[in-house]
Amino acid sequence: MHTSSSIQTAETQDLVTTSIPHIQIKDLNVTIEGQRILKDINLSIPNNSVTSIIGPSGCGKTTLLKTLNRLVDDAKGVEVTGSVLVNGEDIYAKDAEVTHIRKKMGLLSQKPFPLPMSIFDNIAYGPRIHGEKNKQVLEQIVETQLRNVGLWEEVKDRLDASATQLSIGQQQRLCLARGLAVKPEIILGDESTSALDPVSTQTIENLLIDLKQDYTIVLVTHILRQARRVSDYIIFVYNGEITEFGRTDDVLLNPQHEITRQYVKGFIS
């Protein structure tokens, strides 16, 4: 158990550049209602790239993602030990301020959940909460983000319409724009295209690839092909442990561990 983790650490040291890694996970253990979900996770997420977390269902992928923005705090009976360093600061420190942490991470969930308000207000929600009151600034932010996700032309004439009127692909892009509006550094995606049709899926995937220039992106996906298309690095989680971590092609084509090979070939799911 320990051996594989330390091998990963050594490998990650090679892969990550000399700058301080955006996200570093040290000795992370997560227990939910007595059950150990994540065991001894040690990991550095490479900056400005897309890292996908893959693995069989129920093995802790989503939990791992949720520890990154402390959304895991909401689960019942949860205990977290270890540390997650973002820009060198432990977000699980006793005095860490949760809303500040979450602001740094944008979350794109499985099904788009537009807030019950207009398109404009959805995107302006984040900035407003954090104190931005100037109308012009807000309008600027909304337009910028809608352009970023390629939604501007489609909705610019109906910014006051309820966000629920958009198609599901548009809603997911809206949610991405909403998340970008608070200027995060990291984007987290939890199976964010599984509810979408192929065209919308492709749009989101391309967006994520574009965004990696300015953000560090961590995705959870159960679609291997998507992981192949989109990611630079892959983490394979099995039974709550990191079994394999490396560049996409390395992990998918030359897996080091038998379990990884079995999963990649489709023998276990």
Partner: protein, 278 residues
């Protein structure tokens, strides 16, 4: 047996309608609803004081109970654990089982003296305590159970991911509650309030015991009032001796029935639509 129940409702409406006819023939509907003098001996049947009495008492009860219920429900669903909910909700439901007459006794024992001896002097008003304010306070407690149980149910249907989306943007839990959860739950919360209103409209005894029973239009919290159900309950004895009095009381009953029916219907429709969507 089924036909029987349909027949019953129609009978009620028709019966009340027929008995109200003499009054409606003597005066126009518009006049009796807006006339403010109630003096049956003189043939004057202004229902306005009673309509206003009911409205005052109901509004005061809403003013007190709606914020309390929304805040308490939000706490029960968003902050409290399952154990606390399982303890508190049954207790609140016991409130619903207490007979109105006991609420009236409590009103006379506590609310009325409290108002006349503590609250009124603070505000600089003189009052016996038998006021619409007292009626409103008693009513507020009586509608707690029905509003809370529906509100809690409605809040529990808000999907977790919606809250997660707001929290992920860096909002605090309270901000999420006020800007996202309560907004999404608005129709359901309205349905709960409407149901509370219909319960408040019909409550007779408890309010009657504390509201003063003076047929005047209340002008302030500390005025006495005379809600519609109290009118019916108090005057049945005299109604046979004064012409048109029985018809007037039947009309009051009809009015009450129609209002409550209407509110109940609205609330059920909203809740049914929500159930269908969810």
């Amino acid at each position: 047996m089924l036909a029987l129940s349909l027949v019953v409702i129609i009978l009620i409406l028709v019966g009340l309608g027929i008995k109200s006819m003499p009054l409606l023939q003597a005066e126009s509907l518009g006049r009796i609803l807006t006339e403010s003098v109630w003096s049956p001996l003189n043939g004057s049947f202004g229902f306005l004081p009673f309509i206003m009495g009911t409205i005052w008492v109901t509004l005061i009860s809403l003013l007190i109970s709606v914020p309390l219920c929304i805040l308490a429900s939000a706490y029960l669903v968003e902050y409290a654990g399952e154990a606390l909910r399982r303890m508190v909700l049954p207790l609140v439901n016991v409130l619903a089982a207490i007979p109105p007459v006991l609420y009236g006794v409590w009103g006379v024992l506590f609310v009325v003296p409290f108002l006349s001896q503590y609250l009124a002097p603070i505000v600089g008003v003189e009052t016996t305590g038998y006021t619409v304010f007292a009626g409103g306070i008693v009513l507020a407690v009586m509608i707690f159970p029905i509003m809370i149980s529906i509100m809690v149910e409605v809040l529990q249907t808000i999907p977790y991911e919606l809250k997660a989306a707001s929290l992920s943007l860096g909002a605090t839990k309270w901000e999420t509650i006020t800007k996202v959860i309560l907004v999404k739950a608005k129709p359901g919360l309205m349905a709960a309030i409407v149901l509370g209103i219909s319960r408040a409209f019909g409550e007779t005894i408890a309010v009657l015991m504390v509201c003063g029973n003076i047929p005047q239009i209340p002008k302030s919290f500390f005025d006495a009032g005379y809600p519609l159900p109290a009118l019916i309950a108090n005057n049945f004895g005299e109604m046979m001796s004064i012409p048109l009095y029985d018809s007037a009381l039947m009309f009051a009953a009809l009015l009450l029935f129609v209002l409550i029916f209407g509110f109940n219907l609205i609330s059920r429709l909203i809740l049914n639509r929500l159930e269908g969507k969810g």
